[in-house]
């Protein structure tokens, strides 16, 4: 019974990872733009970035998904469930990623920028080669933690019909009447994926630390 459940629910692992990964990627990219905008010298751009980040964060994820999946087709923008989920989670992730980047950037002492300037590096090279690599190293553990949070949030995609882990668990719960077992299997899958992500992140973190000689 349990192997049968496992094989049917494990079908959703692919889409769970896909939704999480794609949203983290797009959210991470939009987050970069946001953090740049939040440090812009122009006040209106700064205010717009802050407003965006706050508006995104105060609305529950499920409301975002419904707004996008059910709301947008009214304006003839018909999205597949998968597209809607990825767009929704990318928007949410972008705000959180921007905050993570910001704390990473704050941890870089001003002296680094000044030193780069004194060495005659262009602002572009400074950001690309001096600031970003250091900030990324600081932000990595937070990014991994957020990634795991996003993985768990991605379960919400089942509510608009994306066929991921929770969707299949719900299907088997209804078909086999093994409600407890179905969701225990689903829960176990989420925990296993989280553990793998945490382990990989820790290894990468250690590697980066060794490279710069801390530790």
């Amino acid at each position: 019974m349990i192997t049968q459940l496992l094989t049917s629910i494990a079908q959703g692992v692919g889409l769970t990872l896909y939704v999480t990964g794609a949203s983290l990627l797009f959210g991470g990219l939009i987050g970069l733009v946001l953090v740049g905008a939040a440090r812009s010298p122009i006040a209106i751009i700064r205010a717009a970035a802050t407003l965006y980040i706050n508006v995104v964060r105060v609305i529950p994820p499920i409301t975002w998904l419904f707004l996008i999946y059910f709301g947008l087709p009214q304006y003839a923008l018909r999205l597949s469930t998968l597209q809607a989920a990825i767009i929704g989670f990318s928007i949410i992730a972008s705000a959180f990623m921007a905050e993570i980047y910001r704390s990473g950037l704050l941890s870089i002492p001003d002296g680094q920028r000044e030193a780069a300037h004194a060495l005659g590096l262009s602002p572009f090279t400074t950001v690309g080669h001096i600031i970003t690599p250091q900030a990324f190293r600081v932000a990595l553990p937070a990014i991994a933690t957020y990634g795991i949070g996003l993985l768990k949030d991605s379960a919400l995609a089942s509510t608009i019909g994306v066929r991921e882990i929770t969707y299949y668990a719900q299907q088997s719960a209804k078909q086999t009447h093994e409600g407890l077992l179905s969701f225990v299997v689903a829960g176990a899958l989420y925990i296993i994926i989280s553990l793998v992500v945490a382990l990989v992140a820790r290894r990468v973190d250690l590697k980066l630390r060794r490279k710069i000689g801390v530790l």
Binding site: N54, V55, V58, I59, P60, P61, I62, T63, W64, F66, L67, F70, G71, L72, P73, Q74, Y75, K152, D153, S154, A155, L156, S158, T159, T166, A169, Q170, A173, H177, G179, L180, S182, F183, V184, A186, G187, Y190, I191, S194
Partner: protein, 220 residues
């Protein structure tokens, strides 16, 4: 202008949903926070099985997506012969989830109270439990309050999940209106505005609370 009249027209239908959302949040916090404190104390207990029980509750509550925890209880409790309303099920699931996260904050708070306080309590002749209650706990609670208040805001947002097991809260009321009028975009925008406004108000209160609790540090 049309939008405003439309929104005002929906408010009487949405308000009962909002009340249930707030009830759900309130009860989840009322049950979840003491449960979290219990889990935190059990995690520090010398009696090993207490530690294991606490570990299991915390890891399940935090490791599973809240949605999966909700479905898990919703689909499995009736099989175990326990029939509850969907609202009760949602309260249990959210309380568990809240308790698991809260226990980590309580543990951090308890760990932040210097050991000397405990020793001083013992030296003053206070028994273990009394010393914990009147010396350690108040100091720990002060440290844990800001993150717990932040968690409370997240629990309010999480209450929207109860929609999936047909609790008649704000999201399901919005869904009802949407399926009748087909004005999904408008009704979900209104819902988002309601959630957003209340969350902002809560966050403002949290900020004030943080400032108030930090007053004794500012004076020095």
């Amino acid at each position: 202008m049309d939008l405003i009249t439309q929104w005002l027209g929906w408010m009487p239908n949405l308000t009962p949903g909002l009340v249930i959302s707030l009830q759900l949040t309130g009860l989840a916090l009322l049950i979840g926070f003491p449960f979290g404190l219990l889990l935190a104390v059990m995690a520090e207990a010398k009696f090993k099985p207490f530690q294991w029980i606490s570990f299991a509750f915390v890891e399940i509550g935090r490791g599973l997506p809240a949605l999966v925890l909700l479905y898990l209880l919703y689909f499995s409790l009736p099989d175990a012969g326990i029939t509850l309303t969907s609202l009760t099920t949602a309260i249990i699931a959210l309380s568990w989830n809240t308790g698991a996260y809260a226990s980590e904050y309580f543990r951090a708070g308890l760990a932040a109270v210097p050991l000397g306080q405990k020793e001083a309590a013992i030296t003053s002749g206070l028994s273990g439990w009394t010393g914990f209650r009147i010396v350690i706990l108040p100091q720990a609670l002060r440290i844990s309050t800001p993150p717990l208040a932040g968690l409370a805001v997240l629990v309010f947002q999480g209450s929207a999940l109860a929609f999936v097991i047909a609790v008649p809260e704000l999201m399901s009321k919005a869904f009802e209106i949407g399926s009748i009028t087909f004005e999904y975009l408008s009704v979900y925008t209104l819902t988002a505005v309601i959630y957003g406004t209340l969350t902002l108000i809560f966050l403002g209160l949290v900020r004030i609370l943080e400032l108030r609790l930090g007053r004794h540090l500012l004076r020095n």
